[in-house]
């Protein structure tokens, strides 16, 4: 029964993946924890909590669920929904401080974009340990005396996650398109839905075949900046124009021109173009969204400030860093893999890292910590008008 429930929750919430689904904030007891048991902390996205609970099976521990308004860890922390305040709040208000003698809390690594370990320590005395990216690695992480391997630190985009993404896009698309189709052209309901499901699957399943040809540095964001989930390239728009002119030409030649025909086929073409123009890079953990101007930012290391503390290496989800070596500082041999998440900048205790923009504008650590990343690229704007702030 439990297993059935778990599978059902996974299916339903994968279909609804675009919507944040909150669950209860607070403290959960797993197994029979004692005063020395580890304390884990995660966000309150319902699916995350279910998966983490499952991953923690067999470990006697406490799981704190902090308020992220139902957003997942990475989006929540990067977008300002999962913050220092939320972490401090569960540490303080759930009574965990009376239950354990130590003051170490294990956070998911991807929370490092928004939660400042140093700030948490100063305000609460709790030391943040960055756990693995994926819950499935928690058991190995615990067995490895709470040390992460390189693999546990990196985000991946395997077939299972790609299928999840395909479903995440296909489901809301098919619902909205079905509602419209039922009203205007019920006959095509089934074939259109077949198409809406098949296309994202094809796009995501065959991702490895064309991934080399994706260009995260393509210039300009254009009006895609305002389209929330669509990253319009020029090609799909030209194709749409061509298909519409073909449609008009065809109907003119065969003398079958009627407005309903044009509108119906125009709608079908539009749906296809929209699916093709989905923010593909933003749906992967290995690229920055094509909608963010932030993808042009570059990380710069100030070698004079670096003390090789290694926090950057611990929190980088792309394993860009190597720390130590003969010069005893951090280096970025994997810099080209960077997804501009900013975690390394946020966590560096010496402020040795910062972003530099395409026109040479500098985003210092204070700006990155303070202005979360969001749709309208406020972080970049903030950098521009940074000077006149009073608070």
């Amino acid at each position: 029964m439990n297993r059935f429930n778990y599978v059902a929750v996974n299916i339903i919430e994968t279909l609804l993946r675009v919507i944040p689904i909150p669950c209860k904030v607070g403290m959960l007891t797993i197994g029979r924890p004692d005063r020395g048991s580890p304390v884990f902390l995660t966000c309150n996205y319902h699916l995350t909590v279910r998966r983490v609970k499952r991953a923690l099976k067999g470990i006697d521990c406490y799981l704190l669920v902090a308020n992220s308004n139902g957003h997942n860890v990475w989006c929540g922390a990067t977008g300002g929904h999962f913050t220092n305040h939320d972490v401090i709040s569960v540490l303080r208000t759930t009574g965990i401080e009376r239950l354990v003698d130590h003051r170490k809390v294990i956070l998911p690594q991807l929370a490092a974009t928004g939660i400042e370990a140093e700030h948490i320590r100063k305000r609460t005395g709790w030391k943040v340990i960055w756990g693995p990216v994926y819950a499935k690695d928690i058991q190995a992480f615990v067995e490895n005396t709470f040390q992460k391997t390189v693999k546990m630190r990196g985000v991946t985009f395997p077939l299972a996650s790609r299928i999840e993404m395909a479903i995440m896009w296909a489901f809301p698309f098919s619902i909205i398109a079905s509602l419209i189709t039922i009203c205007v052209w019920p006959e095509v309901l089934l074939p259109l839905n077949g198409f809406i499901w098949a296309l994202p699957f094809l796009i995501f399943v065959f991702f490895p075949l064309y991934v080399r040809r994706l260009n995260p540095k393509k210039k300009g964001v254009g009006f895609s900046r305002y389209t929330v989930v669509f990253d319009f390239g020029r090609t799909p728009l030209i194709l749409w124009g061509l298909s519409m002119s073909f449609l008009l030409g065809f109907s003119a030649i065969t003398n079958s021109f009627t407005w309903p025909l044009i509108l119906r086929w125009g709608f079908i073409f539009l749906v296809i173009i929209l699916i093709v123009s989905l923010d593909l890079m933003g749906s992967t953990p290995i690229y920055k969204s094509g909608l963010h101007g932030d993808r042009f930012l570059k990380i710069v290391l100030d070698e004079r400030k670096c003390r090789a503390a290694g926090f950057c290496e611990q929190v980088c989800p792309r394993n860009c860093y190597e720390v130590g070596g003969s010069r005893h500082i951090a280096t970025m041999p994997g810099a080209e893999k960077c997804v501009q998440c900013g975690a390394c900048i946020v966590q560096c205790p010496f402020d040795a890292l910062y972003f530099i923009g395409p026109d040479g504008e500098i985003l210092p650590p204070a700006t990155v910590r303070r202005f979360k990343l969001n749709l309208l690229g406020k972080r970049l704007k903030a950098a521009e008008k940074n000077a006149g702030l009073s608070l």
Binding site: G26, V90, T94, L375
Partner: protein, 213 residues
């Protein structure tokens, strides 16, 4: 997934529409308890609705909120109303109230904040308020609550759904009407001076005092 835009700029307008303007009247009534020279704390001050009212009465007010963008708007408004000398805004959550000294405030107030807190936080916050208020100090709360009567609760649910969706679209926060707020306040050791519910029974104005010695 990527709809991450937080929306303080729209917050004021959004809330005003959703509360049908009753909020301003509520805040005015609560602010009438504040006197010149009082030391006041506004928990979850947002864009400063209560803070600025108190400041205009001549109180020294500290407004705390977790949303930096809202605080920036509040600060701007304080500037426009020429009350910057007696207000202070601070990015701080309720769980950080332990940084405040004991018995330091004459007034602690909170508008539409408790409904954004989790159950643990509500209890923690009430206890902290009790600690930081001077004996005889006043607690002022205006917030959404769960109606006591079943019929009203059902009706409330019915109209909440569309309103909840609109609130979410406008402000990207969901509120959870607080249950048993007067009881919890009493349990935290306050004396309830008055409770005023609106006709729907879903909005409360609560005035409590910390017992004197």
């Amino acid at each position: 997934m990527k709809v991450l835009e937080s929306a303080p700029d729209r917050y004021d307008a959004g809330i005003r529409i959703l509360t049908f303007g009753r909020l301003d009247k509520s805040y005015d009534r609560l602010a009438s308890h504040i006197k010149s020279g009082h030391k006041a704390l506004d928990i979850g001050c947002g864009t400063g609705a209560l803070t600025l009212r108190a400041a205009q009465k001549g109180a020294n007010v500290k407004g705390i909120d977790v949303n930096l963008r809202m605080l920036e708007i509040a600060q701007k408004r304080a500037h426009e109303m020429h009350v910057t000398q007696n207000v202070e805004f601070c990015e701080m959550g309720v769980a950080e109230l332990d940084a405040e000294e004991s018995e330091n405030y004459d007034i602690v107030m909170s508008g539409l904040c408790f409904s954004e807190l989790t159950g643990y936080e509500v209890i923690y916050t009430l206890n902290e308020i009790k600690r930081i208020l001077k004996p005889g100090g006043i607690l002022l709360i205006a917030d959404e609550v769960r109606p006591g009567r079943l019929s009203k609760r059902m009706f409330n649910r019915l109209i909440w759904l569309p309103l909840g969706i609109i609130t979410y679209i406008l402000t990207q926060t969901v509120t959870h009407a607080v249950e048993n707020l007067p009881e919890m306040t009493e349990k935290a050791g306050f004396l309830i001076e008055s409770v005023r519910l609106n006709r729907m029974g879903n909005f409360i104005e609560l005035i409590g005092t910390k017992p004197g010695e």
